[in-house]
């Protein structure tokens, strides 16, 4: 009887493998194909500007004046990177703190509601956060240092946006640390603080790093918030209170009317952003794999 049963189950497993595996493989290949097609599409649309060595101009032109044929991306790229780095430098520690609290310090009842709150925040539409930034935060900054819409406003709202992502990824990484490492550390007479600092966090470092990289990718790709609170002036950021424009916001602002090389320039920015996000995502995946 047992033998028959095991035969049947192995037979059905064989069937599932036969039918499911090709389907899954096809789905996977389709995802890869779509990604490659998007990159190729961006490349084709950007080609009028990139071809014949034109890509050099993206980095050497003195600023972004499409009507005068100047397509220097660097000021806006600098803003995108500054916003991303500023947000992750604030959200990283705060998110990790939330994760530690969630995992190790929150009383069980609070833990559940706190986790729910973080999930809600993580899923909050960015336009809502942008609206809040525009109507609450920007006026406050304006009182302090006019004009208000600024690099600082962008960093602040983006920080709010990625803290929950950081916290949830961090909590997942911390909860994946085997309990016997913690008992092992305790058995060596290590205090609760040292166990966290020198054993648990290092053991979760790959997962935490992957959360950081994912949050960075999210910050880099964010458009709506930047459009709403950063002021949209094309310039290198010289101070936190300068109104600035990020690459993503620029695409959204100009896509509607751009033609010719101007349009190609926007696609070139898009291509550039995509490649940056891909690198971040690849690093995130790599850091998890080495866990």
């Amino acid at each position: 009887m047992l033998m028959i049963l095991s035969k049947v189950s192995s037979l059905s497993r064989w069937n599932i493998d036969r039918t499911l595996a090709p389907l899954l493989r096809m789905a996977g290949m389709m995802c890869a194909a779509v990604l490659i097609l998007i990159v190729l599409f961006l490349l084709r649309e950007a080609w009028p500007l990139l071809g014949n060595g034109g890509w050099v101009n993206l980095f050497s032109d003195d600023g972004w004046y499409p009507l005068e044929g100047l397509y220097g991306l660097l000021p806006m790229l600098a803003v995108s990177l500054a916003v991303m780095l500023g947000a992750i430098m604030l959200a990283g520690p705060v998110g990790l703190g939330c994760a530690l609290f969630l995992q190790f310090y929150a009383p069980p009842g609070l833990r559940k509601s706190f986790r729910l709150l973080l999930s809600l925040l993580a899923g909050m539409p960015s336009v809502v956060l942008g609206l809040w930034g525009l109507t609450v935060l920007v006026p406050i900054i304006a009182l302090w240092q006019p004009p208000g819409p600024s690099l600082l406003a962008a960093i602040a709202v983006l920080t709010l946006m990625i803290v929950p992502t950081m916290a949830l990824a961090g909590a997942a990484a911390l909860s994946a640390v085997p309990a016997d490492l913690v008992s092992g550390a305790a058995a060596l007479g290590m205090s609760a603080k040292s166990r966290l600092l020198y054993v648990v966090i290092p053991a979760a470092r790959h997962g935490i790093l992957s959360g950081v990289l994912m949050s960075m990718a999210r910050a880099l790709g964010e458009t709506m918030v930047l459009l709403m609170v950063s002021g949209n002036v094309v310039q290198y950021p010289h101070g936190l209170f300068d109104p600035v424009r990020a690459l993503t916001a620029n695409i959204a602002l100009e896509m509607a009317y751009a033609t010719g090389t101007h349009r190609a320039g926007l696609f070139a920015s898009g291509l550039f952003l995509t490649l940056l996000v891909l690198v971040l995502a690849w690093l995130a995946a790599r850091s998890v794999r080495y866990d």
Partner: protein, 277 residues
Amino acid sequence: MTNYSESPYTLGSIDEAVACCAPKPQLKVRALSVSYGDRRVLETVSMDIYRGCITALIGPSGCGKTSLLTSINRLTDMLPSARVEGSVCFEGQEILDTTVDTLRLRRRIGMIFQKPNPFPISIRRNLELPLREHGVRKRSERASRAEQALRDVGLWEEVKERLDSSALSLSGGQQQRLCIARALVLEPEILLMDEPCSALDPISSAVVEELILRLRGRYTIVIVTHNLAQAKRVANYAGFFWMTERVGKLIEFGQCQRLFDTPAHALTQAYVDGVRG
């Protein structure tokens, strides 16, 4: 031909003979009971752990051997549901007293777990972390103590070239020896070993067993093992645990050879025979 190794038997049971150097109890366990929530898992265990000797704890799974070990180093404190009653006296000090500094206690009583649990950091840092935690500030002292511990467990020659690579790159047996080194680096007085060989392949298991034998005399060792042959090979004393109505009890305790050869209790006899046959 006379077999001299058998001679004590002609003089009567080894337990009753006068020992050449009387063993001194280092830990006195008295009426120790452990419960998780409402469930009692270990009841009124009393036994002495002798200094410098190896004491083996045997018995089926679930009869509370691990709970006994974790009561001795107060790791039970980490489980909110665990409750320990009775008394464990360590050099005149009551271990179960709530005022005991558990961090210092655990430095003096090290523990080795069933599954090797090196920290996923470099080999060097695995050894230096506990030292730093216990206030060894000088880097050179940490390094020399780490080297000594690695030599003690016979790992130095195998890893001295790659102290900075991850401890997880070691084989299972090497990881377990690293964990033993990590405990030894703190110069504990007692080592609690919870089935230290059961997750290892036979060859690594033999290496670790030989290491345990070499530690005898320098450290007091309490080892839980399901391998009766191993218990017989390494231990001076043995305790046999059994579950009655889902509560673990110490059935018999005594000199290892006596417990295996002439068990006083029918249950011990059956367990020793059963596993043997």
